[in-house]
Symmetry: C2
Subunit: 441 residues, 2 copies
């Protein structure tokens, strides 16, 4: 069969954009030899055409005129790597309306306006491919969409933000404070100058919304995801947690109960030290996915960075060029938001185990009054840790872990604990997530 030639245009010549250009220019022959498809980089659009980049484009390819891409009917695929939710949306819509398929890594845009963009793609008979939007180098979207299609997905537990995982790994391995770990991550290029979107859990929530849409087949939006970030995480709790057999990770969690209730959460999570996810260090990403037929599948790889993300973009380009993405996209059904909304479990109803640390004043009766409040709310204690000696201001940290209880019970108990005069300050409360175990029987 003869080689298929497909012209593509790229908008956004930043780090990932440069990686994509590099792969298309330098791996073009290998790709053509292996896949029978030759990608031609027709143009690269960026407002800054002067900045030096780590790739040499052919003469005349770089431009600041988006119209050169949109108005060129020979360009079949447009790659949007501008990022953000403003102009990027307009660019995608323009490309779709001009009859081009779209490839993007823009998770924020898809999490916020995905349904509108998918609709536009369907109306124009085009597709949007977005493997690069979640977990960079790990081909998790195609796995959920195709490889696991025959499964009901019951749970998905992911480390999908490399910045947060890098920080937590540093805090854990080197007993560093949050601020020191963040500064190191920034210095080494694993965190942005403004790390808010990562640290807040927002970026993980974007990815979870996209992944859960595909896994469950619903139009899931960002507003369906409960989000809590790394603010206020103290190294002491990481250390106490480890003493009790837990490792702290920022997890993106999607669960579906046998009754069809859906729980979507991003929050700091204590997980068993011997679980696969606990062994994911540094900026790496990983996901444990549970399917009704396959059991557990675990994926691990680089979640971000120039070449891993570019690898996912180019994989999408090939799939779009072959026509496969469009077929899959046009066939994929997402049930409408009206159907999903009543199924999403409010965080208050969610059931979990908890890690609680209080700073107890050195007085008689502290444990009695403290444990009475928990008992009053039907919260039962599963483990406890109190080192001898006193800490700052004559207080002593008392850590307990609980059995499963509803969030709202815990919230009321925490409010009462905060008012207790034998405790100092607000209790620290971190969810414990018991990832299901799939083993030989």
């Amino acid at each position: 069969m003869s080689e298929k030639r497909v012209r593509v245009g790229l908008v956004g010549f930043g780090t990932v954009g440069a990686g994509v250009a590099k792969l298309i220019c330098e791996e073009g022959d290998a790709l053509a030899a292996k896949m029978g498809v030759r990608l031609e980089l027709a143009c690269v659009v960026d407002v800054d055409t002067q900045k030096p980049r780590p790739v040499q484009l052919p003469e005349g390819v770089l431009t600041d005129d988006l119209n050169r891409l949109v108005a060129d009917p020979s360009i079949a695929i447009g790659i949007e790597l501008v990022g953000g939710t403003g102009v990027a949306k307009e660019i995608q819509l323009q490309m779709l309306r001009a009859g081009k398929d779209v490839v993007t890594a823009n998770k924020a845009l898809l999490a916020l306006h995905g349904n509108e963009l998918y609709q536009a793609a369907r109306e124009t008979g085009r597709c949007i491919a977005f493997e690069a939007s979640c977990a960079g180098g790990i081909p998790i979207i195609s796995a959920l969409r195709t490889g696991l299609a025959a499964n009901q997905i019951t749970g998905m537990y992911g480390i999908v933000n490399g910045t947060c995982n890098y920080i937590l790994s540093s805090m854990s391995a080197k007993d560093e404070a949050f601020s020191a770990a963040l500064a190191k991550a920034q210095k080494r290029g694993f965190a942005e100058a403004d790390p808010t979107l990562d640290i807040s859990g927002g970026d993980s929530a974007h990815k979870l919304a996209i992944l859960a849409s595909i896994a469950f087949g619903y139009e899931i939006g960002l507003e369906d995801v409960f989000v809590q970030g790394l603010d206020g995480i103290a190294r002491d709790d990481i250390r106490y947690g480890r003493e009790m057999g837990y490792c702290l990770k920022l997890l993106a969690i999607a669960q579906r109960s046998p009754e069809g209730r859906i729980s979507l959460r991003v929050h700091p999570s204590f997980i068993a030290t011997d679980s696969s996810l606990a062994r994911v260090h540094g900026s790496f990403n990983a996901l444990s996915v549970f399917g009704s037929a396959v059991g557990e599948i675990f994926y691990y790889g680089r979640g971000a960075g120039m070449m891993p993300t570019a690898s996912a973009v180019v994989a999408d380009l090939i799939d779009v060029a072959l026509g496969n993405s469009r077929t899959t996209f046009q066939h994929l059904r997402l049930r409408p938001r009206a159907e999903v909304k009543p199924l999403v479990e409010p965080i208050d109803d969610s059931v979990s185990r908890f890690y609680i640390r209080v700073m107890a004043k050195d007085k008689p009766g502290v444990v009695a009054r403290y444990s009475r409040i928990l008992a009053d709310h039907q919260i039962s204690i599963s483990g406890a840790l109190q080192h001898e000696g006193t800490g700052p201001s004559n207080t002593v940290p008392v850590v307990i872990t609980t059995h499963r209880t509803q969030e709202k019970n815990m919230a009321t108990a925490l409010a009462e604990l905060t008012r207790l005069d034998v405790l100092s300050g607000k209790p620290v409360c971190i969810r414990i997530v018991d990832i299901p175990q799939d083993k030989d029987t």
Copy 2:
């Protein structure tokens, strides 16, 4: 878009066949809702139509007449789950010639006659989809073919035979002898009554040939793979290896050097205890794949069994039904055997580290003479282990590990060691595999 209806026929109503029928019958509505494709099970062909199976087929679907499938033009896809390399090949060819796409889990057939079958599929404009042939529930073939398409694959290290991994895990965790571990695996259904194909490494070699074909883009055959199975593996060596920081696994290894040399091997391998693959226990499968753009990707899941394998078969059915498999298949280029043959490195040239155990007689000068032979062959020692006290027949086990050396050096040294009168019996030699590390820098 309206629902697409696709009629499929299944040949081979064994364990996996029953799983496939179950998924099609019981998950049909969910699949149609999610993927827009409705699979109709037109017929199930098996020589035994009486045996009870764990799935209830609709009236009239089960038959012993293959012709009902082949001659029915309304059946678009034929599933071959007969297994083996004899009649299965004829069935696949008949289905292709009758204009049907083929879905199969038959690794032995594809490893042996894949090129002939692919050729037949190309000539008839059909495709063969075989995700289920390697690592059951892990969608590794589509990952190599699509998700990692933009990468040069430099290495692939896999645990792809659940029987062997179950046996080695048992031997390691419970200090069991090989025969006891095998008997337990058989009793629990993780090993066949005749486990030869698994234990010999043959099954892993079949899978490696298929995976390496896709990863490297060559017509790789079974004869390109060096194979050594678990015969003669002693629990003592598993224990000594562990004391030195290694875990024993049967690995399927594919490597490509920067110069394009290809090394394909299945053999017992000591790997670092803290590597991802060392933590794969029981009947699970896993693969570490290294790509030029993504770095390491690690996949873990169930490699066999009724539902995991059926899940992969149904994923292929969907992909074929959508037309994607055919496009991918027709575009995928495998360079011909004539090109690959000179690139395959003979095992003699292969460079590795080694674990060697000799049984030394209790005489002066043993270590001197033993280490002299190694030195004479430019083999340098990297670690040693000798416990005090003597073992059976007044001999003492002496274990060493070596730095990297060529297989042929080691083979000559081993022959000389075997003849050494201060040693008893043949030395035990197991390769140490240093899996590349991909970490944050």
